[in-house]
Subunit: 424 residues, 2 copies
């Protein structure tokens, strides 16, 4: 192996092991040349190889940085414990059909009439009542990801330096914000000491999933929420509250949007409670930011399709929405029990409890030597080396038949990993 | 009036008259103080007033700049000649209802199955055949505005300086790109001399609506397109081809995406050929940019709702799409004739011909002294003072009854404007 390739491998290892993390500036060519005892041209060749392979990127006039990966989570393995969605197989599609038919019969071509940028006024009203949030600071978005995208647009200046994220966190938010600051999580929310240390920086946004955290499944305690709200009251940062799966949590507690609405950007996806294909959600933002968010929405895609908004409104009003949530909550409970039983029987796996939502965050105390895994590895949620031995098993994206076989598949994978291969 | 207010008024006038344009840095406080013969504190007070009222903005460490307006075109006057959409009243909603019903009956819950980020493979295939574009570099987007938004994301670095726009142009694109460079248009496309002068700058994107230009209604000639394609072949810029309303143009000619696909980012809205509420469109991008666009789409809103994609696919396959386009083309022809007759009878109005599409770009040779106008004033499409006397009349967003009354309303507005008020 030529020297430049060996140096490239070493740098790649340091990235893999988290010594250099995405967004971080790596040492200069000059200092690397000193470290490796070679000339600068060799280091430059190594850097160029790493750029070609997407590990590094140049920022003109500044230096070389570790790149954020640009990966799309679109793989669908046979037994899919990766995708954190509820299978559309459970959705009452006959009711969906009837709602659409009825919409056209009743409203005729008006079913397809233009909708205001902020959203269908009837849907805003219905959601405001259902979720106990003020309608006048709400807007309908094309899913929670768009809520994050609009936030990234409104706070565009220097957002990477100005954002504080949980560690681990949702990869779709990392892709947008490319955050440089993270706070570690205990079982009831962030470590407050670490939070305070982070807040000495010029943080403008704290992105959090306090209700059902993805991927850890923890819920923030009321005490932690109150401490964070007190900090937000005094400090110049907003809380971006991604209210993920609150409908499926065990015991609801007050949200940030209830406690400190003037400093909370609240984002709610409607996909987990309707169907993943319906790309809708809503936001509630502080008064002073509302116009900026509305404008960001308008320049992004004008408005979210009104026909789908009318569908969701009718679905909620019919009672079908609550029935569906109830049904899915039961299914989550039954599947989680079976999965916890299976994982509990594998002696090298640790599953912290309690966990909310429809995935489980699992630590493996030994390395599983498997070429393909049907779950999501921990490194997709974190740049910290400590999470390399963790993974997330999402368990609602298969229908019942696939889930049954999927459990057998998991059992055999863990069994294969646990016994060292013996002759015969 | 205090001196600082008079200075603020003067600067506001200069912005209104196009002496200072959006994105432009205005002279420093020091030099303005010299110009107005006052102290710097007075000028600073004027600047602060203009910032409060949204005319100026500060860029830290650089100075004061004219702000881009953040206006949402969401007003719906009684007789709406502003909105450049086709009224949903013309859409075959019964066929729409039947397509949705059939989708659920045939595909059951799979009608709501997740869709790949790039779009429903069947819709991509059907669109590829219908629009004669390669499927493998296509992606489905949530409307043309999202196509522009993704382009702005992919070319984010320094986009304002690196974009060249037509003058006048579509305001929704100005909002996103905040371009600083413009090229004026003749009846058959841009002035090539002006284009060449602009291209000496570091232009990376040339945004154009060459088929049916908004707002002027011109179509580029084949010769102009060929000259521009030859320039794009050698220079480092991409053509962003917004293929607006080609279905309703008189005589189709080759598109940039046909002539120079490796340098063309092609954007096609499907709203004008289905219904404005259906927020769908597609893009065809050069090979080397495809992954970047796909990733930008994923981080923006994951994917456009698959159910709507299936609807459009079925609508095209049923033949309903072509029938609808045929019907709207006839309606456009009849309305345009009536409107041209009306405008031709007003002696101070000039309507350049021919104009494609479903709006007319009109010059008024005298100032119309009207408090409220039902059309879109020229300054929304241009920062150039010469277009202050122009306006765009879009004529397909009303149903037939409203359009008839709308014509009467226009007639009375122009009549009121033309005669100086006399006693009695």
């Amino acid at each position: 192996m030529p020297l430049y390739a060996a140096i490239a491998d070493e740098i790649q290892d340091r990235i893999r092991l988290g010594r250099y993390t995405p967004g971080q500036k790596i040492p200069s060519i000059r200092s690397m040349a000193v470290e490796f005892g070679c000339n600068k041209l060799t280091v430059q060749k190594a850097f160029e190889r790493l750029k070609r392979h997407g590990y590094l990127e140049n920022i003109v006039g500044s230096g070389s940085y570790v790149r954020f990966s640009e990966k799309i989570g679109d793989a669908h393995p046979l037994y899919d414990f990766k995708t954190a969605y509820v299978s559309e197989a459970f959705f009452p599609y006959i009711q969906a059909r009837d709602i659409f038919t009825d919409l056209f019969d009743r409203e005729k071509s008006r079913a397809l009439a233009p909708t205001p940028v902020a959203g269908d006024p009837d849907l805003l009203r219905v959601l405001g009542a259902h979720y106990r949030v003020p309608t006048k600071r709400m807007l309908i978005i094309s899913g929670a990801q768009q809520g994050l995208d609009l936030t990234a647009k409104v706070f565009s200046a220097n957002i990477s330096e100005a954002s504080l994220f949980e560690d681990p966190t949702y990869p779709g938010a990392i892709s947008l914000f490319r955050p440089k600051h993270f706070v570690s999580l205990d079982g009831d929310g962030p470590d407050l000491g670490a939070l305070d240390r982070s807040l000495t920086r010029r943080i403008k946004l704290f992105y959090t999933m306090p209700t059902v955290h993805n991927p850890t499944g923890i819920a923030y305690s009321l005490e932690k929420k109150e401490s964070i709200a007190r900090r937000a009251e005094k400090a110049p940062f907003y809380i971006v509250e991604d209210d993920y799966l609150s409908e499926y949590q065990d015991r609801p507690i007050p949200r940030f949007v209830d406690m400190i609405p003037q400093k909370t950007i609240y984002i709610k996806s409607l996909s987990p409670t309707t169907v993943p294909d319906i790309r809708l959600g809503f936001m509630v933002v502080p008064d002073g930011l509302y116009d900026k968010f509305l404008y960001a929405k308008y320049t992004s895609d004008i408005v979210s399709t009104g026909l789908l908004q009318k569908f969701v409104k009718a679905f909620i009003q019919s009672g079908g929405y609550d029935d569906y949530i109830h049904d899915i909550r039961d299914r989550i409970g039954r599947r989680k029990e079976r999965l916890l039983g299976l994982l509990g029987a594998c002696k090298d796996l640790v599953v912290p409890e309690p966990q909310q939502g429809y995935s489980l965050w699992v630590e493996s105390r030994r390395s599983l030597d498997l070429a393909h895994v049907p779950w999501t590895p921990g490194e997709e949620f974190s740049f910290s080396p400590q999470y390399r031995s963790w993974f997330r098993i999402a368990f609602m994206n298969m229908d019942d038949a696939a889930f049954d076989k999927g459990l057998d598949h998991l059992r055999s994978l863990f069994a294969r990993g646990s016994r060292p291969p013996k002759a015969g």
